[in-house]
């Protein structure tokens, strides 16, 4: 595989405070739908996951392929920001403002 065709996995953790486990799961479900929607604007995002982690965190994983590594952070940030905006717009249920905890990037 040439360097340009490499596939990266970037996992971002977001802290969401003040939600019950059921609300956190509901938020993660809505974020999942929004990430799917937001990632359609970025063909390089080939797969993703959204899941809960610990008691007050959600994780968003993006698998990104065929881009210059300098673009990875920007793409991931944009997809997640767009997805969070979509969650806010759709507005059903609790829509908290998550805080960025960290992200981890590896070559898949």
């Amino acid at each position: 595989m040439s360097r340009d065709e490499r596939r990266f996995e970037i996992t971002t953790a977001l802290e969401v405070q003040g939600l019950t486990p059921a609300e956190l799961q509901s938020f993660a479900d809505r974020l999942h739908a929004s990430v799917l929607e937001a990632s359609k604007s970025f063909p390089s995002v080939v797969a993703f996951f959204v899941g809960t982690a610990e008691e007050d965190e959600v994780e968003v994983g993006l698998r990104i392929q065929g881009v210059n590594p300098t673009e990875l952070d920007r793409i991931a940030t944009q997809v997640i920001d767009d997805a969070l905006d979509l969650v806010q717009e759709r507005g059903a249920g609790v829509s908290p403002k998550p805080s960025f905890v960290g992200s981890q990037l590896v070559v898949a």
Partner: protein, 313 residues
């Protein structure tokens, strides 16, 4: 009967030593006692029994005086060798002290020499790190680059370079192989990992404690709270031998592109050679466990192009 006298068999060494020590200490203890006895008995005999020197009890005091004088005389006769013994003891003691001083000098000289050699290696590697950070555009006051070799489940820092003297200060020196970004990168499939942290100090601390196994005491002594850490495994001749780690206080300064650029450089090749020399006890083969990759593969990934439902399966 004629003939030569058979040579006297020397005493066993332990008996000889015991006798010599006994005589030595006997002389040391008995001499003053006997001398005091001579003084006492002669005084009592002459003063208290001046009128009856040769009849009891004055006679018994005279006998006691003679006994004391005899003891003193015998001690003098039998302890002729004592000064030689004392000289020998002192000489042996002196030799032992000389040997001890010599050993201490040798150890100190060896340590100094080892420090010089270690320092030379460190300075050479630091020069390579300086060139590498310059080549990778990671040379500012907010960055540092460190190199570690792997040894028995821990990473040992060889050298660190930063334009900032504060950031260049060596931290803990050794790092457990299962801890932090370095450990995660070491265990990853492709040997690279870029970790971005929150600028929020509480979240930064929590991330290190929860995910990377740090404790509060360890966090307190860290010389830097980086926003980004980019770590890459150093491999040489089919072995994983160490880690190269870039850290920056600014989010956008370093990333995967930094690691890619470093990996392509000749300086990194030279650095890998040096690290492999420094890491003689590295395990054979590519010694890493694919922990993170397995973790990620356990997730349910959804194809962005084909998934139509928003609900995770």
């Amino acid at each position: 009967m004629t003939g030569t006298k058979p040579p006297r068999q020397p005493l066993p060494r332990w008996l000889d030593n015991t006798l010599r020590v006994t005589i030595y200490w006997g002389r040391q203890a008995l001499r003053p006692l006997a001398a005091a006895g001579v003084g006492l008995t002669s005084g009592v005999w002459a003063a208290a029994y001046a009128d009856a020197l040769w009849s009891p009890p004055g006679l018994w005091w005279f006998v006691a005086l003679c006994a004391c004088i005899t003891v003193v005389a015998l001690l003098e006769i039998f302890s002729k060798g004592i000064p030689a013994l004392e000289a020998e003891v002192l000489e042996q003691k002196g030799r032992a002290e000389d040997a001890e001083r010599d050993a201490i000098r040798r150890v100190a000289a060896a340590q100094a020499e080892a420090r010089q050699h270690t320092k030379a290696v460190e300075l050479a590697v630091k020069a390579l790190l300086k060139q590498l950070s310059k080549y990778c555009n990671a040379q500012s006051h907010s960055e540092r680059v460190s190199v570690y070799f792997y040894q028995r489940d821990k990473f040992v820092m060889i050298a660190r370079y930063s334009m900032s003297p504060e950031l260049e200060v060596p931290g803990r020196g050794t790092y457990p192989v299962q801890q932090g970004v370095i450990g995660a990168a070491w265990n990853s499939t492709h040997g690279t990992l870029v970790q971005v942290y929150s600028p929020n100090e509480r979240l930064w601390d929590e991330k290190h404690i929860d995910d990377f196994g740090f404790d509060n005491a360890t966090i307190e002594v860290l010389t830097m709270r980086p926003r980004v850490v980019a770590a890459m495994r150093i491999e040489e001749d089919g072995k994983s031998v160490g880690m190269l780690v870039f850290e920056s206080a600014e989010r956008s300064r370093i990333g995967q592109h930094t690691l890619d650029k470093a990996a392509d450089s000749r300086v990194f090749e030279a650095l890998s050679d040096v690290v492999s020399v420094c890491a003689p006890s590295t395990p054979s083969g590519v010694a890493h466990r694919v922990v993170r990759a397995q973790e990620l593969n356990d997730r349910t990934w959804h194809d962005s192009a084909t998934v139509t439902s928003g609900r995770p399966s």
